[in-house]
């Protein structure tokens, strides 16, 4: 609760600083503020409390995921100063929107009432529509914003209908009441319909097949830093809140629902990986890679009561490698009008450190040892085998092998092709963010139990 209030206060502070002509201080102050909020959140880790008639329930799950979101936002805010170099006068808006987006994200994992969940998802999405279209003179960004807006409000409508059906069945928005009533024998048919609609809406947000068609276009068109935000923070938020929704409302999902989850998970992995193989635009490639990672993360829904730890671990590994990869992409594609692989030719000679970081983060996404991505997949697969879905794990392993193909296409382009032009010196911030993100990723890989045992 305190986390949420502090984050919103910080967002308002960002807007106030602009009034007092302190635009230069906004980014450092926000980072310091976010670090303070992170400390506050971690200090509340072991307390389980509910506030305002169960509107917000703070638990281990919510604090752990909130901390992850805050860390990711710190990285994204640090990158913003460099990215918005030409728009310094508007930087307070960009930062404030990101902070408000974070508050929506925190509300989405700490809700105790479906009204709070709905408000959280809308705060997150509306902030994201603005950010996707924020490069307003660029037609691509306009198009991405419009597509994301239409898709997002369509999905919100479906989510709202799902909430309405659940309310009709149960007569309450409080998730603990709903969970208690869902154990009774005679449920109105509206309740499963509501759960299905809610799940469909959330699958739109996580971009799982068959609801993934918007992702490549929106990822490609948006400004690169917004793409980084979508593919790391927003994907993790949507996945975590889908997990929380299903686990708090009905403890055991029916078998037929599990079969659907298995099919969607397999389809996401396969379609995502196969489509990614033929992309030349790096942002598009990472969009499809995100679709396949969503498929991997959906596997956690099959063992709802035990897999919170592995979801947190997978999400942190994926998001940290995403941040490292996108900070390199922001450096390479600055002042270019596209993000094709051609731009990455010869990066290994021009800038060995950033090339190594990009290689590391792609290897982490592909699941090569030392990096956290490998252990994340390992834990996820062993969880899934234990709950009895061997076929799904076989498909997942085959898909991990396919994914190595397109990640190596980019790595080879960096190291074997000749550079086509000289690049200027990189700003310190990009180095710092990329190095810290990849080091955190490797640290998670070396000490997996620090995160895995958090939510037991």
């Amino acid at each position: 609760m305190n986390t949420l209030i502090a984050i919103i206060g910080l967002g308002v502070l960002c807007l106030l600083l602009e009034i007092f002509n302190l635009t230069k201080a906004i980014v450092p102050l926000t980072i310091v503020g976010l670090l303070a909020v992170l400390g506050l959140t971690i200090s509340e880790f072991n307390s389980t409390e509910s506030y305002y008639n169960d509107m917000i329930v703070v638990s281990k799950f919510s604090t752990a995921f909130s901390s992850l979101f805050i860390v990711l936002t710190i990285f994204l805010v640090s990158l913003s100063h460099n990215f918005y170099e030409k728009h310094q006068s508007k930087i307070s808006d960009y930062i404030a929107i990101k902070i408000f987006l974070l508050s929506g994200a925190v509300a989405m994992v700490s809700f105790g009432n479906l009204a709070m969940f709905f408000l959280g998802i809308e705060i997150l999405s509306i902030a994201l529509y603005v950010l996707a279209a924020s490069d307003r003179l660029n037609l691509k960004s306009n198009e991405a914003g419009m597509k994301y807006f239409l898709m997002g409000s369509f999905a919100s409508g479906i989510i709202l209908f799902g909430i309405c059906m659940i309310y009709g069945a149960m007569g309450s928005f409080n998730v603990s009441d709903i969970a208690a009533m869902s154990q009774s024998a005679e449920l109105p048919i509206w309740f499963p319909i509501g759960i299905v609609l809610l799940t469909i809406g959330m699958l739109f947000k996580v971009a799982a097949v068959p609801f993934h068609f918007w992702a490549p276009d929106v990822y490609e068109g948006s400004p690169t830093i917004t793409t980084a935000l979508m593919s790391t923070l927003v994907k993790v938020v949507a996945m975590a809140s889908l997990y929380k929704l299903l686990s708090v409302m009905n403890a055991d999902i029916s078998e037929s629902f599990k079969i659907v989850v298995v099919v969607i998970s397999m389809a996401s992995m396969t379609v995502g990986n196969i489509m990614a193989l033929r992309q030349v635009n790096v942002k598009r490639m990472l969009a499809f890679s995100g679709v396949s990672h969503a498929g991997f993360m959906l596997m956690t829904l099959l063992s709802l009561s035990t897999s919170a730890g592995s979801l947190l671990y997978y999400a942190s590994a994926y998001a940290l490698s995403g941040i490292a990869a996108f900070s390199v992409i922001i450096y390479v594609c600055k002042n270019r009008d596209n993000e094709d692989i051609v731009n990455f030719h010869g990066l290994g000679k021009n800038n060995p450190l950033l090339a190594a970081i990009l290689t590391g983060s792609l290897l982490s996404m592909a699941g090569i040892p030392i990096f956290a991505g490998f252990f994340a997949k390992l834990v996820l697969f062993s969880d899934t085998i234990e709950s009895g879905y061997l076929v799904l794990v076989i498909v997942a392993v085959v898909n991990s092998i396919i994914s190595v193909g397109y990640y190596f296409k980019l790595i080879l382009a960096m190291y074997t092709k000749e550079p086509n032009e000289e690049r200027k010196a990189t700003p310190f911030v990009i180095y710092a963010v990329a190095v810290v993100a990849i080091v955190l990723n490797i640290a998670l890989g070396l000490f997996p139990s620090t995160v895995l045992d958090l939510l037991v």
Binding site: K140, E143, K147, F149, S156, L160, F161, F173, D217
Partner: protein, 106 residues
Amino acid sequence: MNNILNQIGIENYIFLSVILFCIGVFGVLYRRNAIIVFMSIEIMLNAVSLLFVAFSTYHQDAEGQVFVFFSMAVAAAEVAVGLAILVSIFRNVGSITIDNLKNLKG
């Protein structure tokens, strides 16, 4: 009030709002004018609001009606952002037909 609901039956309210919701869905899928697509999204959200109010009376519980206020406020904010995006598209392209937005593919 509850008496009227008993005479009409909650099912009919559900049918009505499902029909309205589907009209909205088809509007989003088939119409090409952005303003009409926005209107269709509003129809979807308002269909759900109608059902919220019906369920609220059905359960004799005010929470559902309060939720409608939330969803109305959210819908207003959403459309405001959508119209802002539409204005910037109109300035760049000079038209609000969704078919013009075909630059991103691959």
